[in-house]
Subunit: 250 residues, 2 copies
C-alpha cells in the first residue's frame, strides 16, 4: 500500500471488466480536488472527465440573478462530464467541488474512444447516466414539495453515502447555496436536527450522530434515488465483471 489512492475507489471504474480497466487506468491521472474548484463551467468545453474517489462534486446551476440550485451530486459512485459522451460537449450547469478530496481524470479524447467501442464501458456509463437522470428528476420534485428540513436531510444522506466518515466539512452557507435556500433556513433546520440529537456541528464541521434517525426524517426522495442507484449499478461491487456485464456483449 504505497499510496492510499486507487482508481477502484471509484465504483464505476471498479465495475469495469479487466480489459477495459487496464486500458483506461494507464491513462488515468490522480488529481486533488480542492473545495470550491470548478471542474467545468456553464457552457465550457470539457477537456476531461473526472472520476471522484474521496471527493464530492455538485452539479450546480447558477441563474442570471446569481441565485443557484444543485441539480445533482456526484461522488465515488460516478463520473463528471457526461455531456462529453452524450454528444453535447457542454452543459448549461457548473460542476463545483463540494467536499475536498481526490479523483482521477481522463482526457476527453480517451473517454470518447473508449465509449465509441460500444462495449461495457459505454453501457456502464449509460446506466450511470440514467441513475443521474433519476436524481435530477427527484431533485425537481423535492424542490417543489418538500421543506428545507427534509431537503437538508436528503442532502446530508446523499453526501454521507459518498464519504467514508460520517463527518462533513461544510458550512451552512455552502449548504444553503447548494439547496438554493437562505443560510438562515439551513441554520434553523440544522438546529432542529441537532436538538433532536441527529447531528452535531460547529464552524463548518458536521458530524452525523444518528444516521438511522436521519433516515426516518428524510423525505421519500432520498430513498427513491438510492434505490435507483442500487438497482442500476447493482452489478458493480466486486463480483465477476465478465458475468455481471456479460449481457452487454453483443
Amino acid at each position: 500500500m504505497a499510496s492510499p489512492h486507487h482508481p477502484k475507489q471509484n465504483h464505476l471504474l471498479a465495475a469495469l471488466p479487466m480489459d477495459e480497466f487496464e486500458r483506461l487506468s494507464a491513462r488515468l491521472e490522480l488529481i486533488p480536488m480542492p473545495l470550491g474548484e470548478a471542474l467545468y463551467e456553464s457552457g465550457g468545453r470539457l477537456q476531461h472527465v473526472y472520476f471522484p474517489t474521496t471527493s464530492i462534486v455538485s452539479l450546480l446551476y447558477v441563474m442570471e440573478n446569481g441565485a443557484s440550485a444543485e441539480i445533482a451530486v456526484v461522488g465515488n459512485e460516478g463520473i463528471l462530464g457526461i455531456a462529453l459522451f452524450m454528444g453535447g460537449e457542454t452543459t448549461p450547469s457548473r460542476a463545483v467541488v463540494q467536499s475536498a478530496g481526490y479523483g482521477y481524470r481522463l482526457k476527453a479524447q480517451s473517454l470518447k474512444e473508449e465509449f465509441n467501442r460500444a462495449g461495457p464501458v459505454m453501457h456502464l456509463l449509460l446506466r450511470y447516466t440514467q441513475a443521474l437522470i433519476t436524481q435530477m428528476a427527484q431533485t425537481a420534485v423535492c424542490n417543489r414539495h418538500h421543506s428545507v428540513e427534509q431537503q437538508l436531510c436528503r442532502w446530508l444522506l446523499l453526501s454521507l453515502d459518498r464519504l467514508e466518515t460520517p463527518e462533513l466539512t461544510m458550512t451552512q452557507e455552502l449548504i444553503a447555496n447548494m439547496l438554493g435556500v437562505r443560510r438562515e433556513g439551513v441554520t434553523e433546520a440544522a438546529g432542529k436536527l441537532q436538538r433532536a440529537g441527529l447531528i452535531r456541528y460547529s464552524r463548518g464541521r458536521i458530524s452525523v450522530l444518528d444516521r438511522p434517525g436521519l433516515e426516518l426524517e428524510v423525505c421519500e426522495c432520498y430513498r427513491v434515488v438510492k434505490k435507483e442507484f442500487d438497482r442500476l449499478l447493482a452489478d458493480i461491487p466486486g463480483g465477476d465483471p465478465f458475468q455481471t456485464l456479460g449481457k452487454f456483449r453483443s
Copy 2:
C-alpha cells in the same frame, strides 16, 4: 396525401439518414394518444418507445402522498422511453398524455437492435437525451426559484413549441397537476395573463394571443431549455442527413 400522418412529423425520425429511417419506418405503428393515457407507469417495464407527432406527453412523478410534479415534457421533437436504451428498462416516473394527438410506436426490441448498431440512431438518441436532461435540470431550478406565473409562462411556451396551433385543450386543473401547484394558483396566474392580453381561455381551451408578450414574461428557464434543444438537435430539420450526421460515422 392519403393520410395526414407521417413519421417525419417527429423531428427525431425526420433527422435520420435514409437507410436508418427506412429500416425503422417499416416497423413503426401509428397510434392515437388520447388525453390522460399513461404510456408507461412508474417502475413498469417498457414494451414500446413512442415518437409523438401531434401529441404532447408529460413525464410526471407522483409522490407517495399523491402530489405530483412534471419532470419534463416530450412532443414531436422527442421520444418516450429513453430508459430502454439507457439500460435501466424502467424509470420511477410516469408518462401521461397531456395533449391528445397521434404518435408512432416501435417495439422495444426493435429499438434496442437499432440502438446497438451504435450508429446514427444511437448518437441521435443520446443527443436528445442530453437535451432532456437539460430540461429536467431547468425544471428543478424553476421549481426552486420562480413564481407560479413564470412557470405557467414557461409551460405554455414549451407546449406551444410542440403544437401547430396556438390553441391548447387543457384545463387549469390539469396544468396545476403538471406544475405541482394548486388549481387556484393557476387560475390567478392565468387571469393575470389574460388581463394582460397575452392569452384567452375558457373551459379548458387556451388561446395564446401574444406569444412575444409571453416570452417577455417568462423566466430564463424557458430560454435555456429552448436554446439547448436547438443547439443539440440543430442538425435536424431538413438538410442533408448524410452530411449533418456525417460526423457520427466512425
